[in-house]
Amino acid sequence: MAHSPLRLLFTSFLASAACLAAPTGLRIESFTGGTGAAVEAMVRKTLLDTGDLALISSGPAPYVLTAESSGGRLQAKLVDANGKQVFAESYDSVALKDNARQLADECVGAIFGWPGIALTKIAFVSEATGRKEIYLCDADGSNIEQLTRDDSSCVSPSLRNDAQAMLFTSYVSGYPDVYMLDLETGLRKRLLQAPGTNTGAVFSPEGDSLALTMSFTGNSELYLVAPSGLGGRRLTRTDAAECSPTWSPEGSRLLYCTNIKAKPSLEILDVETGKSQKLETGYSYNTEPDWAPEGDRIAFTVKSGGELKVAVMDFKSRGVTIVGNGQYPAWGADGRHLLFARGNELVLRNVVAAKERVIVNNMAKLSEPSWSR
């Protein structure tokens, strides 16, 4: 979900303070109750997967978690080193794992101040059927569900931040058109079918507008469109081709790729004034940008030595760091995790803790992941 600028500033401050310190420790006391052991195992795994917490097996700890899980009800309490209560909550989800994930995210939020990622969703493209289709999974790569069966090419998925709707491009009509899929009802609607190419649609942070590429004027330009797909406003007027827009966290600017003389570059556009500014990265091939939730960094794909690599730019220093081989980076809600595709793998990397895990593989070539926040 979108956050207020004050909260973002606060989160950013906490994040920078926390990354200087050693990993914060948490001791989890054995969960009681009939389903306690199962839920405890899930909470431990989810917290370890964040890469930010050290789980302490015995003795003093900065934080101690106790819980009881009976049937589908989980009651938990977190205290600090002085025994002072940090929170006490109960969870009643349909699935035990959702109770565990809610508790894990609550711990992350209480200890670090940034949002947890355990309850977020990921959409991605796989060629497992021989055609490109879109799939949905949980943030740990489990619970994979096939969303499209067009037997054509379904690409460019983009989840709304509440993970209740997804935009994507399908070639099922023979042309690239933008569709919206309601993930609650399963109903889909074709939103855009202008002459030429319609692709790369992304929801604004509040979900009330879409930005995308259309080419019906004879040149690929960025447009702002209502979620109904009925009306549009042109955002760029250039001889170059613009694509892959990504919103700034507050929703006032767009970062995108523009192909200038066979060199894809990055630019930032102010949606209100229509003015854009080039972002120098030091690379001649820059595509697929994604703006971090705190607004302080961007991730994108560069071509270096003939290989595609994931890069991160820090806005303050303008320094660019190569994260590793891969493409299509997407930031998680916490601004610490980057999701990207590397051949047949989806990789989740904590870029602050420098730890990575493969969350999906064995599904042929994977591409274009989108991550709800």
Binding site: S173, P195, T197, N219, A226, K263
Partner: protein, 159 residues
């Protein structure tokens, strides 16, 4: 005006206003394409492929090779033979880049060929574009960087 036709005007007017209410200030209605034919997909049987050689491009570029002038001449000849004919230009990119950029690059390539045909006096409504990027009939290396030319024959309804 009769009572029933007044009711109809009111009904149509209300429907129009309801549709417009979805549009926000500054947003214009968007055009829709003719879908009676496509390169891959519904109506592809109306599109004659391969009768003109594909036009090739350099890496990441939408400037076609000078050697493509024979293909352009050939398209112009085919359009001159029958005023009912149209052309569908299908742009492609190879797999050396990222997917979304390739889709837009394929469109840029198709639009470059379209501009050349319009420059030779072909009416814009006879020239259509589509980009497959690195989708569907994707090919590697230099062979991937191309615009394929589909000749759309008129239907009986067009004549």
């Amino acid at each position: 005006m009769s009572k029933s036709s007044s009711a109809l005007v009111l009904l149509v007017g209300c429907h129009f206003l309801t549709q417009c209410a979805f549009l926000r200030p500054g947003m214009a209605p968007l055009p829709k394409r003719d879908e009676s034919f496509s390169y891959f997909g519904p109506g592809s049987e109306r599109v004659l492929k391969g009768s003109v050689d594909a036009i090739s491009f350099s890496e990441e570029s939408s400037e076609y090779d000078p050697s493509s002038s024979d293909s352009l001449e050939s398209v112009l000849d085919k359009l001159a033979e029958d005023a009912g004919r149209q052309v569908l230009l299908a742009g492609f990119a190879n797999d050396s880049g990222t997917a979304e950029f390739n889709r837009v690059l394929g469109e840029e390539r198709a639009q470059a060929v379209r501009a050349a045909l319009l420059g030779k006096g072909i009416a814009s409504e006879r020239v259509h574009t589509v980009s497959y990027g690195n989708e569907l009939d994707a090919r590697q290396g230099a062979e991937g960087r191309r615009v394929e030319i589909g000749i759309v024959e008129p239907t009986l309804a067009d004549e």
